[in-house]
Amino acid sequence: MATSLGVPRLPFSPKTLQTLRRTLPLSLSKSPHSTPLPHPSISRSPFILRLSHRRLSSRPSASGGGENYDFDLFTIGAGSGGVRASRLAANFGASVAICELPFATISSDTAGGVGGTCVLRGCVPKKLMVYASKFNHEFEESHGFGWSYETDPKHDWGTLIANKNAELQRLTGIYKNILNNAGVALIEGRGKVVDPHTVSVDGKLYSARHILIAVGGRPNMPNIPGIEHAIDSDAALDLPARPDKIAIVGGGYIAVEFAGIFNGLMSEVHVFIRQKKVLRGFDEEIRDFVGEQMSLRGIKFHPEESPQAISKSEDGSLSLKTNKGKVSGFSHIMFATGRRPNTKNLGLEDVGVQLATNGAIMVDEYSRTTVESIWAVGDVTDRINLTPVALMEGGAFAKTVFANEPTKPDHRAVPSAVFSQPPIGQVGLTEEQAIEEYGDVDVYTSNFRPLKATVSGLPDRVYMKMLVCANSGKVLGVHMCGDDSPEIIQGIAIAVKAGLTKTQFDSTIGIHPTAAEELVTMRTPTRKVRRNSSSDEQKVKDAVKSST
């Protein structure tokens, strides 16, 4: 395992380092790339120790084969995975540099920014826009609770975008500080791999014992006529004005999230999906449910309609031609048709790093590429493209390479959320996967009107599903669509990851009155699926909500 991978070991034991720190004069530890700021919690930080080691690391060392490198680690891409890996590696004593493109809200070959997709063009701005748009629904809910307005709430797009961008600027600054405080050298520019131990940043060469590629992914649009009139999610997060009428092409999580955002901010929203329903890969009943709920909130779905061409009319409005016809009058057409790993022009093929057909970097379980000194984490490897997974991969990489503790990221039971309105939270297997894998599965479902909706009078509902292995009693998957689902599923994910059984869920007392308590009070299976039964699905009886 560890040895076969040739994981480099620290040239000194921590004890030796302690001794070195004491014996080496501090003046020795001046490094061109260090930022010798006093760390706020210096007692906990191996700061001085790290500096000592940094000097030593560029000298011949026990495992270094006598080579000299500018850095122990050079990371290309300062997004979630890259920052985490760099920071931890530095904490473990490595000398680290990271390069990233200059800040911009919209990414390109020449613009990016510290923080990466999550902070600048993904999770964070998206969630801020979701918050903004969700107020609209809350205004509607408030009527049933006795609130009224003389004039209907209006939304000023400019205020939102300005405040959102100010927050993104603040966050990119925080990320820079995190790197700075960890003693990571930040180099602005476009990094490219020149050889297994050399990175070029806009022509300047840096040598490193290890190179980590963490350049993420970018939105991908199909090459159809008129595609130049379309926008992607980067642009959709930073539009100068509210779209009057927007077409969103795609049925994945980005499409449904933006559909909710624009709908809440009072655009007319049309979603074009290739499939019959949104969110391929999710539990089928969740797919049905979220589609229904979104339709009830005013989003118009065009199922089984694939885009063929976009045309712009004289008045500037856009038309989308599909296999079924043409829909006109759009102010904007957004494509949310997937993301691609950002591996173009990185020089990877030339040094022998193997890529998958979609451009993803192929890595082993420790995130190592086919070139021994080059590693990759996050979306660029197209494993599970989520920020917390990139963080996990970055953390595992740093432990493996710089802490002498080979660690595989564990991609099992990774929970995730879709910030549609209503949102989805899920962990573990879908019903379809559970049946495929385990055969005998008890399916518990609950579909109820939450307390808030009984007073608001709105048609909001909550759907929950729990999949239980009929033989072991283990909870295989939990899915939920409804208010607060992402928050609710996090704790449930701990239990699923820990392999808890349905009996253990049931032994937990509910928190009353919440939606989440339903997950510990699902007493009667909706159906028992048995591999060897004559009929695949035995409807036991409709789930009776045991609510007394």
């Binding site: 999770c123 964070v124 107020f135 809350e138 006795g146 609130w147 307390l451 704790g491 007394t548």
Partner: protein, 485 residues
């Protein structure tokens, strides 16, 4: 419906296998599950009324009619004010003065409560439980007397009697106490107060403080201790206190009310510090007492403690073998889901042939102040008291993402308490938006003895507040425990 006969020789000796007094959470659950086991069950309850008394109550009990449910509806209603404030920096332009119509909310709330009351009645009917309207009293170890609305008295015999009459809000004995209201009335006030005074530091007090403040009233909250919510983790109590204050509630720690009197401007309130206030409403949220006074328990010798709570063993049995009690009337842990658990365990024990003790370990609970607090397991103070090895404290205090734009100066506070010897998480608490929803899953993990390592091995859901619970990597402090001799 076929009924299982109990033991030979006891057939048809009694009108019912089980007679339940009180159709609240515990009573309804016990009745339904007992009937499900084949028992012949009757339940009696007072006629429906939002405000309880000796002669009115209603199927559904405190939780549905005068507690959890109406309270949560009012919390939802009042939380909108904060949303309106928060919306502005997200670009929303709203009227300066958004109107709140209390009567409309009250009407919608009452409708929902009546709907639920109907559902509970149907639940009982569908389980073939006989419902009797009237005031139930114990007449003998196997006999219940029900005084009906018209004054007629009917007697029933039963093999087992279950008392599930719950509790009622208490008043404080001070001059003018009749001018004050309890939480029952507070949930159904004709007019919304403009100036509210609340006495008490428990969860009911802070919840109503949040409700009335959100609806636009000025609120003065008086409590005995330095911080409200005695029994909760001190850090969480401090967080709640800060939030209440931040939302404009006037706090009066270490003080109480000494006298109330009626004036033309409103109720004159005098405090033990000699201060005077004028209020439209004075709420006593000073605790609840078990509802045992008119049950005639002394006639059969059922023992109660000095608070009036019925004493029961681990199976919810009183000192009279045929009489049992569950829920708030036993004053164990006064929460709806606990009464449900006790009710179910009772049925399993008595009618399911499966003696089952309710398990009080790691019961989560929530306080629906705004923003809410939710906890499971031990507080830091309890952990330290009970510890046999060092206690590890992980805390996180952060600005929720929504507040980065809204500008609301409110932090979310989270805490995990870990036993250093076993690595097990023995306490978790959170004060911040969605805390009760978040804590439910944490409670599942803790109930089953999850370790900190298992928390940490769970991948976060990003961006959520809850992900903080699985990413607390840095120890905040270690409480050293001297080995106990």
């Amino acid at each position: 419906m076929a009924r299982k006969m109990l033991r030979d020789g006891e057939q048809k000796e009694y009108d019912f296998d089980l007679f339940v007094i009180g159709a609240g959470s515990g009573g309804v659950r016990a009745s339904r599950t007992s009937a499900g086991f084949g028992a012949k069950v009757a339940i009696c309850e007072l006629p429906f009324h939002p405000i309880s008394s000796e002669v009115v109550g209603g199927v559904g009990g405190t939780c549905v009619i005068r507690g959890c449910v109406p309270k949560k509806i009012l919390v939802y209603g009042s939380a909108f004010r904060g949303e309106f404030e928060d919306a502005r920096n997200f670009g929303w332009e709203l009227d300066e003065d958004i109107k709140f119509n209390w009567k409309k909310l009250l009407h919608n709330k009452t409708q929902e409560i009546q709907r639920l009351n109907g559902i509970y009645k149907r639940l009982l009917t569908n389980s073939s439980v006989t419902m009797i309207e009237g005031e139930g009293k114990v007449a003998g170890p196997h006999e219940v007397e029900v005084t009906q609305l018209d004054g007629s008295v009917q007697k029933y015999t039963a093999k087992n009697i279950l008392i599930a009459t719950g509790s009622r809000a208490q008043r404080v004995k001070i001059p003018g106490e009749e001018l004050a209201i309890t939480s029952d009335e507070a949930l159904s006030l004709e007019d919304l107060p403009k100036r509210a005074v609340i006495l008490g530091g428990g969860y009911i007090a802070v919840e109503f403080a949040s409700i009335w403040r959100g609806m636009g009233a000025t609120v003065d909250l008086f409590y005995r201790k330095e911080l409200p919510l005695r029994g909760f983790d001190d850090e969480m109590r401090a967080a709640v206190t800060k939030n209440l204050e931040g939302r404009g509630i006037k706090l009066h720690p270490q003080s109480t009310l000494t006298e109330l009197s009626k004036t033309d401007e409103g109720i004159r309130v005098v405090t033990d510090h000699g201060d005077e206030l004028i209020a439209d409403v004075v709420l006593f949220a000073t605790g609840r007492a078990p509802n045992t006074k008119r049950l005639n328990l002394e006639a059969v010798g059922v023992e109660t403690d000095r608070t009036g709570a019925i004493k029961v063993d681990e199976y919810s049995r009183t000192n009279v073998p045929s009489i049992w009690a569950v829920g708030d009337v036993t004053n164990r842990m006064n929460l709806t889901p606990v009464a449900l658990m006790e009710g179910t365990c009772f049925s399993k024990t008595v009618f399911g042939g499966e003696p089952t003790k309710p398990d009080y370990k790691d019961i989560p609970c929530a306080v629906f102040c705004i923003p809410p607090l939710s906890v499971v397991g031990l507080s830091e103070q309890q952990a330290l008291e009970q510890a046999t090895s060092d206690v590890l404290i992980f805390t996180s205090s952060f600005t929720p993402m929504k507040n980065t734009i809204s500008g609301r100066q409110e932090k979310t506070v989270m805490k995990l308490i870990v036993d250093s010897a076993t690595d097990r998480v023995i306490g978790a608490s959170m004060c911040g938006p969605d805390a009760p929803e978040i804590m439910q899953g944490i409670a599942v993990a803790m109930k089953c003895g999850a370790t900190k390592k298992q928390f940490d091995s769970t991948v976060g859901i990003h961006p959520s507040a809850a992900e903080e619970f699985v990413t607390m990597r840095t120890l905040t402090r270690r409480l050293t425990v001297e080995p106990k001799i």
